[in-house]
Amino acid sequence: MSAPVAVIDAGGANLGSVRYALERLGATPRIVRDADGLRGAARVILPGVGAAAPAMRLLRDGGFADVLPALDVPLLGICLGMQLLFQRSEEGDVEGLGLLPGVVRRLVPAPGLRVPHMGWNRLRLRRPSPLMAGIDDGAWAYFVHGYAVEPGADCVAEAEHGTALGAVVERGRIAGAQFHPERSGATGARLLRNFLEAA
């Protein structure tokens, strides 16, 4: 738990709540604004609430876009931070970090189907994963987003909002949560703890 955790400030509005959630778990996160700040970090979290284009611009300006792909420590993207791990986002037609294959697509409103997807939804486990250890199939998680990825090969948990969407992804050291673990009660705290304690 004492391994240094860096939290990237990519202009995301949930920076404060992610930091507090980590502190509740006993971690002492370091907020970093440029890639130099990642030196010595044993874990990196990329939170994000906002729009893809300005966030990617901040990641490029801060040198993160070059450094993150070469990093060898676990990386967790949250919400927009998870979306930026993929190759491209329809939101502003922005190129992402390209750490995971796939495209982030806009959720389309339909009768009875509101966009943004906002509120508590159930996680459906797709395959065992260290990040989801101790989290039951059907556990509730808090989502707030208007864009999403389809559940692909890297998807370990999905949620259903009109159609299935990727809720948690994991591929080697790269992981992402579309929902907000920092605001998802015990389920979210467990995911963050799993990430902090992973070998």
Binding site: A13, N14, G16, R24, V49, G50, M118, G119, W120, W140
Partner: protein, 257 residues
């Protein structure tokens, strides 16, 4: 499937929670942190804090208590009250709030809604609408409702304003039906149904909850995404675990773990 949200609303004045009847006669209802953590523990899906003195007094929200809540709460919360600019919203969001809600300042300067959506994404931007049926039968928006002496009619038709704020970038709408607020006779189903038909984003009902059956009624009859209430929770008349058990028994999807 997305669940329906139960949202206790805490009206905040000078750092304390207050409750009112028809927007007047506020009395003290307790400490913010104490009530917020109680509701979170009992299964509230989200909390809304309205700094009811901020808009009429022309000042912005005090972030000290927002930060205290941000450190403690592990469920989402929204802060409203006197947020007039992107800078105001940033202070509140960075202090730990998940969403900001704008009401009077959006009426005074509608471009604020787009500025907030551009800066933080529309999912952070809630527009609160205080609405009252006029003698001619039309629902119209009221502003400066935190203080009975400062309240005024904006002249805007409520349903038009619901359309406008979505076009501007609102990610959620809280419709507070003032005619039913505080009288505990049930939500204003007719108005909420009309609003629902104009609303693609999540819609939260506010004003009128007095008993558990009012919640099932508003979800079933008006198809709202969330139901907000204050005094019925503060008084202990409706307890959230029991409320949710009842909703689930009626086939209404709620978070219940």
């Amino acid at each position: 499937m997305l669940s329906r949200r139960i949202i206790p609303c805490l009206d905040v004045r000078d750092g304390r929670v207050v409750k009112g009847v028809r927007f007047r006669d506020h009395v003290d209802a307790g400490d913010i942190v104490e009530l917020a953590t109680l509701y979170a523990r009992e299964g509230a899906d989200e909390l809304v804090f309205y700094d009811i003195t901020a808009s009429p007094a022309g000042r912005t929200v005090d972030v000290a208590w927002v930060e205290r809540l941000g450190r403690l709460l592990d469920i989402p919360f929204c802060v409203a009250g006197g947020i007039r600019s992107v800078a105001d919203a940033r202070r509140v969001l960075h202090a730990g709030a998940d969403k900001v809600s704008v009401n009077t300042p959006a009426l005074e300067r509608p471009a604020l809604v787009s500025e907030l959506a551009d800066a933080f994404g529309r999912q952070c931007v809630v527009v609160g609408i205080d609405s009252l049926r006029d003698d001619d039968g039309h629902w119209r928006v009221r502003s400066h409702t935190g203080d009975a002496t400062a309240m005024r009619a904006s002249g805007r038709a409520t349903l038009d304003w619901i359309g406008d704020v979505q076009a501007l970038g609102a990610g959620e709408i809280v419709l507070n039906c003032m005619g039913s607020d505080g009288v505990r006779a049930g939500y204003d189903i007719a108005q909420l149904r009309a609003a629902r038909a104009h609303c693609e984003v999540p819609l939260v009902a506010s004003g009128g909850a007095g008993a558990a059956e009012h919640f099932s009624e508003v979800f079933e009859e008006a198809d709202v995404d969330g139901a907000l209430a204050a005094s019925v929770f503060h008084s202990g008349e409706v307890r959230i675990p029991l409320l949710k058990r009842g909703l689930r028994a009626r086939g209404i999807e709620v978070r219940d773990d």
